[in-house]
Each structure stands twice: as C-alpha cells, then as structure tokens.
Symmetry: C2
Subunit: 221 residues, 2 copies
Amino acid sequence: MGKGTPGRAQPSRRSAAAPGAGDAAGVDARVQRSRSRVLTTAFDLLSESGVGGFTVDEVARRSGVAKTTIYRHWPSREALVIDAASRISAEQEVPDTGSLESDVTAILANLGHLLSTARWSSVVPSIVDVAERDPEFAGVHGKIQRGHAAPLREVIERAASRGLISAAADPSSMVSALIGPLYYRRWFSREPIDDQFVKTIVRNVISSQRATDDPVRDTRT
Amino acid sequence: MGKGTPGRAQPSRRSAAAPGAGDAAGVDARVQRSRSRVLTTAFDLLSESGVGGFTVDEVARRSGVAKTTIYRHWPSREALVIDAASRISAEQEVPDTGSLESDVTAILANLGHLLSTARWSSVVPSIVDVAERDPEFAGVHGKIQRGHAAPLREVIERAASRGLISAAADPSSMVSALIGPLYYRRWFSREPIDDQFVKTIVRNVISSQRATDDPVRDTRT
DNA sequence: CCTAAACGCTACGCTACCATAGCGTAGCGA
DNA sequence: TCGCTACGCTATGGTAGCGTAGCGTTTAGG
C-alpha cells in the first residue's frame, strides 16, 4: 500500500502538454472515465451496504465497468474500499463572526444537518468497526475524524489565541464535548438532532468558559 | 426469531425438582455445558473479530463443541451472534450520594474505565454498524444503549424530581452531553479518557444547571 | 491508417462459510 | 441395565466472493 492512490503507475504519459492541476493530467480519457465511474459507484454501494457488504462484483454490475478493468486500476478490494471511503472528507469552510459561540453553533448545526442527511453518515460505523482491528483503516478513520473536527478545533484555537477563553481550557476536551453529543445521537441513541439540542450543547461548553448570565431564554420555536 | 432465547423447546423437563431460579432449571447438564461453552467462546470471538468476522466454524473450533451441536441449539449464525451480543448489558448499580454532580461523576468514571478496558467495547462498533441496516440488530443495539444510559438517566431524573435542577432541562440532552464525549473519545478520536476529562465534562453539563461560581480551578495535575 | 493501450466478456480456480444429513458413541436417569 | 437424549465426527450441497487468464473489440493519438 505504499503510494497514495493505487492505480497502475502512469501508463505512457507521452503528452504532458495538458497542464491540468495535480494528478489527473495527461491520463487517457478512458482511464479517467472508468476510475470516476467506479469510484462513484463504490461510494454509493459503501453507503448502502457498509464495508462488510461491499463487493467488487457488485460495483462492476452497477457501474457497468468490467470487473477485470476494476482490477486493472485497483490491486485489491481493500484498496478500492479505502479509496472510496476517503471521499468522506467533508471540507467545510470555517466561519469567523467574531463570536466563538456563534461560530461553534454554525459549525455544529451544519454537522448535525450532515449527520442527518448525508449518505456517508451510514458508512462511518463501518469504518469505525474495521478501524478497530485493521491499522490501514485506522489511518483512514483518523483522517476522516480529524477532517470533521478541524473547523471546530480551528475556531476554538483562534479564540484561545485571542484570549477569549480560559487558557486552562483544553481544546481537545472542548471538541469532544461538542462533537460527542451529536455523534451519540446519530449512531447510539438515534434521537434527532435539532437546533435546540445544538444550542444546548454549545451553551454547556461555552458557558463554562465565560461567566454566563442568561442561562435559558431562547423561545423562538 | 420469535421467542427469547433460541434453543430447542424444553427437551423433556421431567424432573422439575430442582427449583433453580428462572430458566436454567431442569435442563440436561450436558446442554448447559454446551450452551455455556459456546456462548462464552462466541462472545470472545465477537470481541476479537466483530460481527463481520464471526463464523460458526470458528466458534466450533475454539469451543470444542461440534458445529452440529451448535446448530442444535441455535437456528442460525445470526441467532447466535445476537445471543452473544446481548451479553454486553453492563448492569451497574446506581449511586445516590445526594449530590447530582458526584453521582454523575461516579457513573461516568466507571463508564470511562469500562470503555478503556472491557472487551465488549470493541464489539460495539460492529453492532452499531449492523444496526444501521438490520432492524433485528437495531433492537439489540437499542437495548444495550438504553442499558448503558439507564443509571445516568435515573440519577438525573431523580435530581429533577427533587427540584435540584432546572425544570427546563431536558434529561435526554443531558445524557447525550455526558455520554457522547466519552464515546467520542473511545471510538472516534481515540484519545484516552482520564478523570480530568470526566470532571470537565461533568462540570460543563452540571454547571449550566445551577449557578456556578468557581468555573475552572482544579489543578491536581 | 496503424499501433498500442484500455476495455469488455466469459470462464476459471480457489477459498470460506452456511446449513444439513447420517451414523456411531457417551452419559444421564429410572 | 436399558432407553432416551445429547453429542461428536465426517461428509456434502450450495452459495458467494476474490482475483486471474485468455481473447476479441474499441478507441486514442501519432
């Protein structure tokens, strides 16, 4: 599993004319098409069936790409799964309203929405499960996780550097305290994640960082 | 899948002499031995390999009980998995120190310890994953989950009935806010769960329920 | 137009696993 | 001692999935 993406090393790369950004340049159009189709289908299948129910044959059936072709681009089922799973990274932009509370609220509300609707949310338990035993997947899992926590961590550390929160406060603890409850509701208690809930969670964490005066007063239904 | 436990309906039950508590009375000693061996092994295997890696053949190999015998007691692989997984229920006693904060802290500290050490903690992701798609497992998952949250819910509702916390506070939200961060650390961020962390989490939630005056002052390393 | 790369298709070997059948053996209880 | 029950062992049928081989067809690109 050395390199990054699995695919066979550049087949010919004669015409390096097309300057395309990073990787997908100078590659045969057919290769691109196959890859993209397979990867899309693979991600869909992963969302439906989880890592356990993921089979190469099924990907071939759905995508219309022959199984042999798939194996020409990925050395094994595992490589394909990892490649597909890596698409989960939810790159979201980081808000900066000046208020830590509203920044955090925005991020969590968005995350809550994603957890409720995004297809990848049903894949995550699979990844977590496999990562529990397979170090390769543990890497993928860690990357996805860090990706999800990143915006939150960023606004918190920014607030800390601005001296807005107690220096004794541990950013990692705050991230856990903020994201944990949302994850819990999505995958464990299976309760809905509404705005009210998000507000409550945020207030719990933020209010312990600065003296609060108006504990519960948000009746905008 | 109808009844509770799968096993064949009472084989003979002639001598109902032995008054043994609920179920295991009047059953052939050999049956008991087989069942117990299989179930123990099944749980071990489940902890190691997860639901996905669980095979009847392996259980037979390890337990020394013949595969045919296993199928005499459980109608299918799935039934055995469910039976083994149901052993997770962590029945713990509910403290009552008079202080909500110390009750909650005790429960969370214990839970954190279990998450770090108990074998079943590595099975949970499997259950969550399968429950995502299989309603049967969703039931098991729900039961386990409620079991884990029960003590917490109990002390919180007790405190509420005693008027110790705001009536506006939602016990479900509090449970999510308390357990979520611990689960997050165990299965997502994979950070350790120490007493300091537990204290922080508890303070976040509790302090937003009663006017706090000493926000962050716990420097016992 | 011509070459070479990429693709599709069919078939295959292999392994792992589920679930069952048949038959002989051991042990519990009257 | 005798019978019933549980158990072990071996074999078997069947499915599903991984990964590969061979061969013909399409298509990009000079």
